[in-house]
């Protein structure tokens, strides 16, 4: 089994290396002088429809985003249990089905609570 992960691990390294090489190409070109580079203060300023930026750029966002992430994290954890279950359901039988049904039901209660409390909406 580990041999497969050996392949994958090396592939991951290769993929990252490939990406970095792709990014390095323009840098090399620039050293050779093919790619232009003429920085100036205006060019390096932030683009905002041709205006100068008003205020800071670190926008602060609404807390509403948090609820989605929250629901997501709970359900994601649920998925962790669902996958092995799904793969082996035939052998686990109705008992397994019931177990996961109860599991999901309890989490879904939380989901319904969130729905009821209208945190899954943008007002």
């Amino acid at each position: 089994m580990l041999i497969n992960y050996g392949y994958i691990g090396l592939f991951i390294l290769a993929a990252i290396a490939f990406t970095i090489v792709m990014l390095l190409l323009p840098a090399i070109f620039r050293l050779v002088g093919i790619n232009p580079r003429k920085p100036n203060p205006i060019k390096n300023a932030t683009y905002e429809c041709g205006m100068e930026t008003i205020g800071r750029s670190w926008v602060q966002f609404n807390f509403r985003y948090y609820f989605y992430a929250l629901m997501f994290i709970a359900l994601d954890v649920m998925v962790v249990f669902i996958y092995p279950w799904a793969a082996e359901l035939r052998k686990l039988g109705y008992f397994g089905l019931m177990a996961v049904l109860i599991f999901v039901f309890v989490v879904v209660v939380g989901y319904l609570y969130a729905w009821r409390k209208r945190v899954l909406e943008w007002k």
Binding site: L2, I3, N4, G6, Y7, I8, L10, F11, I12, A15, I16, F18, T19, M22, L23, L25, P26, A27, F29, R30, I34, N35, P36, R37, K38, P39, P41, K43, N44, A45, T46, Y47, C49, T53, S57, W58, V59, Y65, Y68, A69, M71, F72, L75, D76, V79, I82, Y83, A86, A87, L89, R90, L97, L101, V104, Y111, W115, R118, L120, E121, W122
Partner: protein, 372 residues
Amino acid sequence: MMIFNPDPSSVRQMPTLAPDWPGGFWWHWLLFTVIIIAFVLLLVMGYIWLERRAMGRMQARLGPNRAGPFGLLQPVADALKVMLKEDIVPVNADKIVHLLAPIIAFAPVLIIFAVVPFANGALLADLNIGIVFVVAISSISTLGVFMAGWGSSNKYSLLGAMRNVASVVSYEIPVVLSIAGVVLITGSLSMNQIVLAQEIPFILLQPLGFLIFFIGGCAEINRSPFDLLEADSEIVAGFHTEYSGMKFAMFYLVEYAEALVISALITTLFLGGWRGPILPPWLWFLVKVMVVFFVMVWTRTTLPRVRIDQLMALAWKFLFPLALLNLFITGIEILAWPTAIAWLIPVNIAVMVILVLLWSKLFKLGWGRVEV
């Protein structure tokens, strides 16, 4: 040095990385790594070309046709040119994050292809948790996009990045649950096993799962009606507003490579992967992937964009409950009729139609304050 002198009894049979393929481990790895990377790059270029041409035709025009025959070299020209552009790093940007973002966005997409079965037996490695691997790795890409938005220190970028996070966070769950439906039928997490189990393409057995996966997949990679995070008409170019040159090209590539991932996954999970008569497996795979991509282009040409709250509502209030229902209905079916599968096709299609209609109705009535 006691630490590194372990008890002889603990020295056990570690599986060695021995060659299990003619030519040995390294050759196997090298060959297929090169093939996969080249394949992905070529296919992505093909995608770009296909999209521009198909979209052109649908809009009653021609599309690129000057660079090379039929404009086939258009993506090459674009790639070269982009490589030759100046690279701008805004002064306000978090430079390291700005630099790392394209890498973190692009590498995972490439890595996913390591386990996609292009032909019988995945090329590089057939992981027995293949599909979980794909789901897990693909969640890293989000981070790259977020880093891009953050690192640019630009308001539009940040808005785009936030939108991306919001959409990924919402659509991951329905997508993953619809995949679980497929896993239920196959009883295996290995991508190749999933293909092998598809005597009947799962699009027939899991029509609802397919629908959810398609919509959710498109939303996750921000295609067609869900392309909010770089919505031209709203937030300029979204998270890559401040990127130029090769770094921008990376994001451009990511966009299409992700589309490729989704079409490859749809092909593998629902359309029978490389299976098919007469033609060689890889060709079948290619054809199916292209067809799926064409559907994506088609919807992109036709549909308007949804708004962020609608995007979220669709995921949380429409797709997610349906995905759960689908999962358990499939589970019961599997347990009740472990073998007889074929006659479930009409049943499942009927179930899909009923569920979707019912849910649309509820949606419309504003049950549980669904309306947005």
